[in-house]
Symmetry: C2
Subunit: 243 residues, 2 copies
Amino acid sequence: MVAPEQLAGSAVAVIDVLRATTTAIAALANGAREVLPCLTIEEAHKRAARFASGEALLGGERGGLAIEGFDLGNSPLEYTPEVVAGKSVVLTTTNGTKALLHCRAAAEIVLAAFVNLSAAAEFLSQAARKRGSSIDLVCSGTDGQVTREDVLLAGGLAAAIAAEGNWQLSDSAAIARDAWQQVSGTASGEELNARLLPALIASRGGTNLCGLGMQADIEFAAQVDRFSLVPRFEAQAQSIVVA
Amino acid sequence: MVAPEQLAGSAVAVIDVLRATTTAIAALANGAREVLPCLTIEEAHKRAARFASGEALLGGERGGLAIEGFDLGNSPLEYTPEVVAGKSVVLTTTNGTKALLHCRAAAEIVLAAFVNLSAAAEFLSQAARKRGSSIDLVCSGTDGQVTREDVLLAGGLAAAIAAEGNWQLSDSAAIARDAWQQVSGTASGEELNARLLPALIASRGGTNLCGLGMQADIEFAAQVDRFSLVPRFEAQAQSIVVA
Protein backbone atom coordinates (compact mmCIF):
# COMPACT_ATOMS: atom_id res chain seq x y z
CA MET A 1 0.00 0.00 0.00
CA VAL A 2 1.13 3.54 -0.67
CA ALA A 3 2.67 5.21 2.41
CA PRO A 4 0.63 8.10 3.91
CA GLU A 5 3.48 10.61 3.40
CA GLN A 6 3.64 9.79 -0.33
CA LEU A 7 0.12 11.16 -0.69
CA ALA A 8 1.03 14.60 0.70
CA GLY A 9 -0.16 17.30 -1.71
CA SER A 10 -1.86 14.82 -4.01
CA ALA A 11 -5.48 14.59 -5.18
CA VAL A 12 -6.72 11.23 -3.92
CA ALA A 13 -9.75 9.08 -4.64
CA VAL A 14 -10.59 6.59 -1.91
CA ILE A 15 -12.33 3.53 -3.33
CA ASP A 16 -14.40 0.93 -1.49
CA VAL A 17 -17.00 -0.07 -4.05
CA LEU A 18 -18.54 -2.82 -1.89
CA ARG A 19 -19.74 -0.93 -0.02
CA ALA A 20 -18.48 2.03 2.01
CA THR A 21 -17.93 4.62 -0.73
CA THR A 22 -21.05 3.57 -2.65
CA THR A 23 -23.09 3.91 0.54
CA ALA A 24 -21.62 7.30 1.52
CA ILE A 25 -22.35 8.66 -1.97
CA ALA A 26 -25.94 7.34 -1.81
CA ALA A 27 -26.44 8.90 1.62
CA LEU A 28 -25.26 12.32 0.46
CA ALA A 29 -27.20 12.07 -2.80
CA ASN A 30 -30.33 11.38 -0.78
CA GLY A 31 -29.88 14.47 1.34
CA ALA A 32 -27.72 13.50 4.31
CA ARG A 33 -25.99 16.62 5.61
CA GLU A 34 -22.65 14.87 6.14
CA VAL A 35 -21.08 11.48 6.71
CA LEU A 36 -18.75 11.14 9.68
CA PRO A 37 -16.36 8.20 9.26
CA CYS A 38 -15.21 6.46 12.45
CA LEU A 39 -12.72 3.65 12.90
CA THR A 40 -14.35 2.05 15.94
CA ILE A 41 -17.87 1.40 17.19
CA GLU A 42 -16.99 3.20 20.43
CA GLU A 43 -15.88 6.31 18.53
CA ALA A 44 -19.08 6.19 16.46
CA HIS A 45 -21.21 6.19 19.63
CA LYS A 46 -19.21 9.11 21.03
CA ARG A 47 -19.61 11.21 17.89
CA ALA A 48 -23.31 10.46 17.60
CA ALA A 49 -23.82 11.42 21.26
CA ARG A 50 -22.76 15.01 20.48
CA PHE A 51 -25.87 15.55 18.34
CA ALA A 52 -29.33 16.49 19.55
CA SER A 53 -31.80 13.61 19.48
CA GLY A 54 -32.87 12.72 15.94
CA GLU A 55 -30.11 14.69 14.20
CA ALA A 56 -27.62 11.85 13.75
CA LEU A 57 -27.88 8.27 12.54
CA LEU A 58 -25.48 5.46 13.40
CA GLY A 59 -24.54 3.29 10.43
CA GLY A 60 -21.97 0.71 9.49
CA GLU A 61 -20.92 -2.93 9.53
CA ARG A 62 -18.61 -5.50 10.97
CA GLY A 63 -17.99 -8.57 8.83
CA GLY A 64 -20.59 -7.20 6.40
CA LEU A 65 -23.37 -7.31 9.01
CA ALA A 66 -25.23 -4.48 10.77
CA ILE A 67 -23.95 -3.49 14.20
CA GLU A 68 -26.15 -4.11 17.23
CA GLY A 69 -27.85 -0.94 18.44
CA PHE A 70 -27.08 0.98 15.23
CA ASP A 71 -29.80 2.62 13.13
CA LEU A 72 -28.49 1.38 9.78
CA GLY A 73 -26.19 -1.23 8.26
CA ASN A 74 -23.84 -0.59 5.35
CA SER A 75 -26.28 -1.19 2.51
CA PRO A 76 -26.73 1.81 0.19
CA LEU A 77 -30.38 0.75 -0.20
CA GLU A 78 -31.08 1.66 3.42
CA TYR A 79 -29.94 5.26 2.97
CA THR A 80 -33.15 6.54 1.36
CA PRO A 81 -34.23 10.21 1.35
CA GLU A 82 -36.93 9.41 3.93
CA VAL A 83 -34.30 8.07 6.31
CA VAL A 84 -31.26 10.31 5.82
CA ALA A 85 -32.42 13.73 4.55
CA GLY A 86 -31.02 16.49 6.75
CA LYS A 87 -29.25 14.02 9.07
CA SER A 88 -25.60 13.51 9.98
CA VAL A 89 -24.62 9.89 9.34
CA VAL A 90 -21.95 8.48 11.66
CA LEU A 91 -20.49 5.59 9.65
CA THR A 92 -18.06 2.92 10.75
CA THR A 93 -16.86 0.31 8.27
CA THR A 94 -13.70 -1.76 8.31
CA ASN A 95 -11.67 -1.30 5.14
CA GLY A 96 -13.12 1.90 3.67
CA THR A 97 -12.78 3.98 6.83
CA LYS A 98 -9.21 2.79 7.33
CA ALA A 99 -8.30 3.76 3.77
CA LEU A 100 -9.85 7.21 4.20
CA LEU A 101 -7.89 7.99 7.36
CA HIS A 102 -4.76 6.57 5.73
CA CYS A 103 -5.01 9.36 3.12
CA ARG A 104 -5.38 12.32 5.45
CA ALA A 105 -2.10 13.95 4.34
CA ALA A 106 -3.45 14.44 0.80
CA ALA A 107 -4.40 17.92 -0.44
CA GLU A 108 -7.78 16.75 -1.70
CA ILE A 109 -9.59 13.53 -0.80
CA VAL A 110 -12.74 12.42 -2.56
CA LEU A 111 -14.85 9.28 -2.43
CA ALA A 112 -15.31 7.31 -5.62
CA ALA A 113 -17.47 4.38 -6.67
CA PHE A 114 -19.04 3.23 -9.93
CA VAL A 115 -22.15 5.24 -9.01
CA ASN A 116 -20.17 8.50 -9.40
CA LEU A 117 -17.37 7.40 -11.75
CA SER A 118 -17.49 10.23 -14.32
CA ALA A 119 -18.07 12.98 -11.75
CA ALA A 120 -15.20 11.74 -9.60
CA ALA A 121 -12.83 11.50 -12.59
CA GLU A 122 -13.72 15.04 -13.69
CA PHE A 123 -13.28 16.43 -10.17
CA LEU A 124 -9.90 14.70 -9.65
CA SER A 125 -8.46 15.84 -12.93
CA GLN A 126 -9.54 19.45 -12.34
CA ALA A 127 -8.26 19.46 -8.75
CA ALA A 128 -4.90 17.98 -9.75
CA ARG A 129 -4.51 20.32 -12.73
CA LYS A 130 -5.24 23.36 -10.56
CA ARG A 131 -2.60 22.32 -8.01
CA GLY A 132 -0.13 20.84 -10.48
CA SER A 133 -0.27 17.68 -8.40
CA SER A 134 -0.49 13.97 -9.10
CA ILE A 135 -3.65 11.89 -8.70
CA ASP A 136 -3.63 8.79 -6.51
CA LEU A 137 -6.31 6.12 -6.58
CA VAL A 138 -6.41 4.27 -3.26
CA CYS A 139 -8.16 0.89 -3.28
CA SER A 140 -9.38 -0.13 0.16
CA GLY A 141 -9.33 -3.85 -0.56
CA THR A 142 -10.11 -6.39 2.15
CA ASP A 143 -7.76 -7.17 5.00
CA GLY A 144 -4.83 -5.65 3.10
CA GLN A 145 -5.48 -7.65 -0.12
CA VAL A 146 -6.55 -5.95 -3.35
CA THR A 147 -10.06 -6.74 -4.47
CA ARG A 148 -11.15 -6.83 -8.07
CA GLU A 149 -14.13 -4.50 -7.67
CA ASP A 150 -11.92 -1.69 -6.35
CA VAL A 151 -9.21 -2.18 -8.99
CA LEU A 152 -11.84 -2.16 -11.76
CA LEU A 153 -13.12 1.21 -10.56
CA ALA A 154 -9.55 2.53 -10.29
CA GLY A 155 -9.16 1.42 -13.91
CA GLY A 156 -12.37 3.18 -14.91
CA LEU A 157 -11.15 6.38 -13.27
CA ALA A 158 -7.70 6.05 -14.88
CA ALA A 159 -9.27 5.52 -18.31
CA ALA A 160 -11.61 8.51 -17.91
CA ILE A 161 -8.87 10.80 -16.61
CA ALA A 162 -6.36 9.73 -19.28
CA ALA A 163 -8.97 10.16 -22.04
CA GLU A 164 -9.33 13.87 -21.43
CA GLY A 165 -5.86 15.05 -20.53
CA ASN A 166 -2.18 14.42 -20.96
CA TRP A 167 -1.74 12.21 -17.90
CA GLN A 168 0.97 9.61 -17.52
CA LEU A 169 -0.28 6.40 -15.93
CA SER A 170 1.80 4.45 -13.44
CA ASP A 171 2.18 0.73 -14.15
CA SER A 172 -0.44 -0.17 -11.57
CA ALA A 173 -2.87 2.39 -13.04
CA ALA A 174 -2.23 0.98 -16.54
CA ILE A 175 -2.92 -2.56 -15.30
CA ALA A 176 -6.17 -1.39 -13.69
CA ARG A 177 -7.16 0.46 -16.88
CA ASP A 178 -6.49 -2.65 -19.00
CA ALA A 179 -8.58 -4.77 -16.63
CA TRP A 180 -11.42 -2.22 -16.71
CA GLN A 181 -11.39 -2.01 -20.51
CA GLN A 182 -11.45 -5.80 -20.77
CA VAL A 183 -14.58 -5.93 -18.60
CA SER A 184 -16.33 -2.83 -19.96
CA GLY A 185 -15.44 -3.08 -23.62
CA THR A 186 -17.03 -0.12 -25.38
CA ALA A 187 -20.36 -0.55 -23.63
CA SER A 188 -22.24 2.32 -21.99
CA GLY A 189 -25.46 2.83 -20.07
CA GLU A 190 -27.47 -0.26 -19.12
CA GLU A 191 -25.23 -2.49 -21.22
CA LEU A 192 -22.18 -1.33 -19.27
CA ASN A 193 -23.91 -2.01 -15.94
CA ALA A 194 -24.84 -5.47 -17.19
CA ARG A 195 -21.22 -6.23 -18.13
CA LEU A 196 -19.97 -4.94 -14.81
CA LEU A 197 -22.39 -6.83 -12.56
CA PRO A 198 -21.03 -10.39 -13.03
CA ALA A 199 -17.47 -9.13 -12.47
CA LEU A 200 -18.54 -7.51 -9.19
CA ILE A 201 -20.48 -10.61 -8.13
CA ALA A 202 -17.42 -12.81 -8.80
CA SER A 203 -15.07 -10.48 -6.90
CA ARG A 204 -13.97 -11.20 -3.38
CA GLY A 205 -16.20 -8.49 -1.92
CA GLY A 206 -19.09 -9.60 -4.13
CA THR A 207 -18.76 -13.24 -3.11
CA ASN A 208 -18.88 -12.22 0.56
CA LEU A 209 -22.03 -10.15 0.02
CA CYS A 210 -23.78 -12.88 -1.98
CA GLY A 211 -23.05 -15.24 0.90
CA LEU A 212 -24.84 -12.81 3.20
CA GLY A 213 -27.84 -12.54 0.86
CA MET A 214 -26.95 -9.00 -0.17
CA GLN A 215 -26.79 -9.29 -3.95
CA ALA A 216 -29.11 -6.27 -4.29
CA ASP A 217 -26.31 -4.12 -2.88
CA ILE A 218 -24.00 -5.28 -5.68
CA GLU A 219 -26.65 -4.42 -8.26
CA PHE A 220 -26.89 -0.95 -6.74
CA ALA A 221 -23.10 -0.54 -6.77
CA ALA A 222 -22.92 -1.56 -10.46
CA GLN A 223 -24.97 1.45 -11.64
CA VAL A 224 -22.31 3.50 -13.40
CA ASP A 225 -22.86 7.28 -13.07
CA ARG A 226 -26.18 6.98 -11.25
CA PHE A 227 -25.12 10.08 -9.29
CA SER A 228 -23.11 13.09 -10.35
CA LEU A 229 -21.96 14.27 -6.95
CA VAL A 230 -18.50 13.93 -5.46
CA PRO A 231 -18.08 13.62 -1.70
CA ARG A 232 -15.01 15.33 -0.27
CA PHE A 233 -13.38 14.26 2.98
CA GLU A 234 -12.44 17.23 5.18
CA ALA A 235 -9.57 15.74 7.17
CA GLN A 236 -9.58 18.35 9.96
CA ALA A 237 -13.31 18.11 10.60
CA GLN A 238 -13.23 14.34 9.94
CA SER A 239 -16.34 14.88 7.90
CA ILE A 240 -17.48 13.93 4.39
CA VAL A 241 -19.59 16.52 2.59
CA VAL A 242 -20.63 17.19 -1.00
CA ALA A 243 -17.73 18.90 -2.81
CA MET B 1 3.84 -8.88 -1.25
CA VAL B 2 2.91 -12.39 -0.23
CA ALA B 3 4.67 -13.53 2.94
CA PRO B 4 7.25 -16.35 2.51
CA GLU B 5 5.38 -18.70 4.87
CA GLN B 6 2.19 -18.36 2.80
CA LEU B 7 3.99 -20.01 -0.10
CA ALA B 8 4.84 -23.17 1.86
CA GLY B 9 3.73 -26.24 -0.09
CA SER B 10 2.64 -24.20 -3.10
CA ALA B 11 3.74 -24.37 -6.76
CA VAL B 12 5.24 -20.98 -7.51
CA ALA B 13 6.23 -19.14 -10.66
CA VAL B 14 8.77 -16.39 -10.16
CA ILE B 15 8.38 -13.66 -12.77
CA ASP B 16 10.89 -10.99 -13.78
CA VAL B 17 10.20 -10.51 -17.47
CA LEU B 18 12.66 -7.63 -17.88
CA ARG B 19 15.01 -9.33 -17.59
CA ALA B 20 16.15 -11.91 -15.01
CA THR B 21 13.79 -14.78 -15.77
CA THR B 22 13.93 -14.20 -19.53
CA THR B 23 17.72 -14.27 -19.37
CA ALA B 24 17.92 -17.40 -17.19
CA ILE B 25 15.56 -19.25 -19.56
CA ALA B 26 17.64 -18.17 -22.59
CA ALA B 27 20.86 -19.28 -20.87
CA LEU B 28 19.49 -22.76 -20.10
CA ALA B 29 17.89 -23.06 -23.54
CA ASN B 30 21.28 -22.32 -25.07
CA GLY B 31 22.98 -25.07 -23.10
CA ALA B 32 24.10 -23.55 -19.81
CA ARG B 33 24.40 -26.36 -17.26
CA GLU B 34 22.83 -24.34 -14.45
CA VAL B 35 22.14 -20.80 -13.30
CA LEU B 36 23.23 -19.92 -9.77
CA PRO B 37 21.33 -16.89 -8.45
CA CYS B 38 23.16 -14.68 -5.95
CA LEU B 39 21.92 -11.66 -4.03
CA THR B 40 25.22 -9.79 -3.88
CA ILE B 41 28.21 -9.23 -6.13
CA GLU B 42 30.47 -10.53 -3.38
CA GLU B 43 28.50 -13.78 -3.11
CA ALA B 44 28.63 -14.15 -6.91
CA HIS B 45 32.43 -13.86 -6.90
CA LYS B 46 32.65 -16.45 -4.10
CA ARG B 47 30.45 -18.97 -5.89
CA ALA B 48 32.27 -18.51 -9.19
CA ALA B 49 35.63 -18.99 -7.44
CA ARG B 50 34.63 -22.59 -6.54
CA PHE B 51 34.70 -23.59 -10.19
CA ALA B 52 37.71 -24.59 -12.25
CA SER B 53 38.86 -21.93 -14.68
CA GLY B 54 36.49 -21.60 -17.66
CA GLU B 55 33.66 -23.59 -16.11
CA ALA B 56 31.68 -20.68 -14.69
CA LEU B 57 30.58 -17.32 -16.05
CA LEU B 58 29.72 -14.26 -13.96
CA GLY B 59 26.59 -12.44 -15.14
CA GLY B 60 24.16 -9.84 -13.87
CA GLU B 61 23.37 -6.17 -13.47
CA ARG B 62 23.06 -3.29 -11.10
CA GLY B 63 20.72 -0.49 -12.20
CA GLY B 64 20.31 -2.33 -15.50
CA LEU B 65 24.02 -2.07 -16.34
CA ALA B 66 26.71 -4.76 -16.51
CA ILE B 67 28.88 -5.19 -13.42
CA GLU B 68 32.58 -4.33 -13.63
CA GLY B 69 34.75 -7.42 -13.94
CA PHE B 70 31.80 -9.68 -14.84
CA ASP B 71 31.75 -11.78 -18.02
CA LEU B 72 28.17 -10.91 -18.97
CA GLY B 73 25.44 -8.37 -18.30
CA ASN B 74 21.77 -9.24 -17.88
CA SER B 75 20.79 -9.18 -21.57
CA PRO B 76 19.35 -12.48 -22.83
CA LEU B 77 21.03 -11.73 -26.16
CA GLU B 78 24.47 -12.22 -24.61
CA TYR B 79 23.69 -15.75 -23.45
CA THR B 80 24.30 -17.44 -26.81
CA PRO B 81 25.15 -21.14 -27.21
CA GLU B 82 28.75 -20.19 -28.11
CA VAL B 83 29.11 -18.38 -24.80
CA VAL B 84 27.14 -20.45 -22.31
CA ALA B 85 26.97 -24.07 -23.49
CA GLY B 86 28.21 -26.41 -20.76
CA LYS B 87 28.91 -23.54 -18.34
CA SER B 88 27.55 -22.68 -14.91
CA VAL B 89 26.20 -19.12 -14.94
CA VAL B 90 26.48 -17.24 -11.65
CA LEU B 91 23.81 -14.55 -11.95
CA THR B 92 23.15 -11.60 -9.68
CA THR B 93 20.26 -9.27 -10.42
CA THR B 94 18.34 -7.00 -8.08
CA ASN B 95 14.61 -7.73 -8.12
CA GLY B 96 14.46 -11.20 -9.71
CA THR B 97 17.00 -12.81 -7.40
CA LYS B 98 15.28 -11.34 -4.34
CA ALA B 99 11.91 -12.69 -5.48
CA LEU B 100 13.40 -16.15 -6.05
CA LEU B 101 14.92 -16.38 -2.58
CA HIS B 102 11.70 -14.98 -1.12
CA CYS B 103 9.89 -18.09 -2.41
CA ARG B 104 12.22 -20.72 -1.02
CA ALA B 105 9.55 -22.27 1.26
CA ALA B 106 7.47 -23.30 -1.78
CA ALA B 107 7.24 -26.98 -2.79
CA GLU B 108 8.06 -26.22 -6.41
CA ILE B 109 9.61 -23.04 -7.80
CA VAL B 110 9.87 -22.38 -11.52
CA LEU B 111 10.96 -19.40 -13.58
CA ALA B 112 8.47 -17.91 -16.00
CA ALA B 113 8.64 -15.30 -18.74
CA PHE B 114 6.79 -14.69 -22.00
CA VAL B 115 9.45 -16.77 -23.76
CA ASN B 116 8.23 -19.92 -21.95
CA LEU B 117 4.63 -18.95 -21.11
CA SER B 118 2.80 -22.09 -22.27
CA ALA B 119 5.41 -24.51 -20.95
CA ALA B 120 5.46 -22.81 -17.55
CA ALA B 121 1.64 -22.80 -17.32
CA GLU B 122 1.49 -26.51 -18.19
CA PHE B 123 4.21 -27.38 -15.68
CA LEU B 124 2.61 -25.38 -12.86
CA SER B 125 -0.84 -26.84 -13.36
CA GLN B 126 0.52 -30.40 -13.45
CA ALA B 127 2.73 -29.86 -10.41
CA ALA B 128 -0.10 -28.31 -8.40
CA ARG B 129 -2.60 -30.97 -9.43
CA LYS B 130 -0.20 -33.75 -8.42
CA ARG B 131 0.31 -32.21 -4.97
CA GLY B 132 -3.21 -30.90 -4.52
CA SER B 133 -1.65 -27.50 -3.89
CA SER B 134 -2.35 -23.96 -4.95
CA ILE B 135 -0.38 -22.05 -7.58
CA ASP B 136 1.18 -18.69 -6.74
CA LEU B 137 2.47 -16.23 -9.32
CA VAL B 138 5.11 -13.98 -7.79
CA CYS B 139 5.86 -10.76 -9.68
CA SER B 140 9.31 -9.39 -8.89
CA GLY B 141 8.42 -5.79 -9.72
CA THR B 142 10.92 -2.99 -9.19
CA ASP B 143 11.84 -1.67 -5.76
CA GLY B 144 8.73 -3.21 -4.24
CA GLN B 145 6.32 -1.72 -6.82
CA VAL B 146 4.41 -3.90 -9.29
CA THR B 147 5.46 -3.50 -12.89
CA ARG B 148 3.12 -3.97 -15.80
CA GLU B 149 5.30 -6.43 -17.73
CA ASP B 150 5.32 -8.88 -14.81
CA VAL B 151 1.59 -8.57 -14.12
CA LEU B 152 0.81 -9.11 -17.82
CA LEU B 153 2.75 -12.37 -17.77
CA ALA B 154 1.04 -13.41 -14.51
CA GLY B 155 -2.23 -12.76 -16.34
CA GLY B 156 -1.11 -14.85 -19.32
CA LEU B 157 -0.24 -17.72 -16.99
CA ALA B 158 -3.52 -17.38 -15.10
CA ALA B 159 -5.48 -17.39 -18.37
CA ALA B 160 -3.62 -20.45 -19.68
CA ILE B 161 -3.95 -22.37 -16.41
CA ALA B 162 -7.64 -21.50 -15.97
CA ALA B 163 -8.39 -22.45 -19.59
CA GLU B 164 -7.44 -26.07 -19.08
CA GLY B 165 -8.60 -26.86 -15.58
CA ASN B 166 -11.08 -26.05 -12.90
CA TRP B 167 -8.99 -23.44 -11.10
CA GLN B 168 -10.39 -20.64 -9.02
CA LEU B 169 -8.61 -17.33 -9.57
CA SER B 170 -7.88 -14.94 -6.72
CA ASP B 171 -8.95 -11.34 -7.29
CA SER B 172 -5.39 -10.29 -8.11
CA ALA B 173 -5.03 -13.18 -10.59
CA ALA B 174 -8.35 -12.20 -12.20
CA ILE B 175 -7.20 -8.59 -12.56
CA ALA B 176 -3.95 -9.75 -14.16
CA ARG B 177 -5.86 -12.07 -16.52
CA ASP B 178 -8.20 -9.23 -17.54
CA ALA B 179 -5.21 -6.96 -18.23
CA TRP B 180 -3.49 -9.69 -20.26
CA GLN B 181 -6.59 -10.39 -22.32
CA GLN B 182 -7.03 -6.69 -23.00
CA VAL B 183 -3.49 -6.49 -24.39
CA SER B 184 -3.39 -9.85 -26.17
CA GLY B 185 -6.93 -10.01 -27.53
CA THR B 186 -7.24 -13.28 -29.42
CA ALA B 187 -3.94 -12.84 -31.24
CA SER B 188 -1.33 -15.58 -31.46
CA GLY B 189 2.13 -16.07 -32.98
CA GLU B 190 3.81 -13.03 -34.50
CA GLU B 191 0.67 -10.94 -34.12
CA LEU B 192 0.61 -11.63 -30.37
CA ASN B 193 4.27 -10.64 -30.02
CA ALA B 194 3.54 -7.44 -31.93
CA ARG B 195 0.66 -6.56 -29.59
CA LEU B 196 2.75 -7.31 -26.54
CA LEU B 197 5.82 -5.32 -27.53
CA PRO B 198 4.42 -1.77 -27.14
CA ALA B 199 2.94 -2.70 -23.74
CA LEU B 200 6.35 -3.94 -22.59
CA ILE B 201 8.10 -0.87 -23.99
CA ALA B 202 5.66 1.42 -22.15
CA SER B 203 6.04 -0.48 -18.84
CA ARG B 204 8.25 0.78 -16.07
CA GLY B 205 10.91 -1.86 -16.73
CA GLY B 206 10.68 -1.24 -20.47
CA THR B 207 11.06 2.50 -20.11
CA ASN B 208 14.21 1.98 -18.04
CA LEU B 209 15.70 -0.36 -20.65
CA CYS B 210 14.87 1.96 -23.55
CA GLY B 211 16.65 4.73 -21.65
CA LEU B 212 19.73 2.50 -21.52
CA GLY B 213 19.51 1.73 -25.25
CA MET B 214 18.43 -1.86 -24.63
CA GLN B 215 15.22 -2.05 -26.65
CA ALA B 216 16.48 -5.24 -28.34
CA ASP B 217 16.18 -7.01 -24.98
CA ILE B 218 12.50 -6.06 -24.80
CA GLU B 219 11.94 -7.43 -28.30
CA PHE B 220 13.57 -10.67 -27.19
CA ALA B 221 11.42 -10.83 -24.05
CA ALA B 222 8.22 -10.30 -26.09
CA GLN B 223 8.64 -13.56 -28.04
CA VAL B 224 5.82 -15.65 -26.57
CA ASP B 225 6.69 -19.37 -26.34
CA ARG B 226 10.03 -19.08 -28.09
CA PHE B 227 11.25 -21.81 -25.72
CA SER B 228 9.45 -24.80 -24.26
CA LEU B 229 11.66 -25.41 -21.27
CA VAL B 230 10.89 -24.67 -17.65
CA PRO B 231 13.72 -23.82 -15.25
CA ARG B 232 13.25 -25.11 -11.72
CA PHE B 233 14.91 -23.52 -8.72
CA GLU B 234 16.37 -26.10 -6.33
CA ALA B 235 16.28 -24.17 -3.07
CA GLN B 236 18.75 -26.36 -1.17
CA ALA B 237 21.39 -26.31 -3.89
CA GLN B 238 20.52 -22.65 -4.69
CA SER B 239 20.67 -23.68 -8.31
CA ILE B 240 18.37 -23.27 -11.32
CA VAL B 241 18.28 -26.23 -13.72
CA VAL B 242 15.98 -27.42 -16.50
CA ALA B 243 12.97 -29.17 -14.89
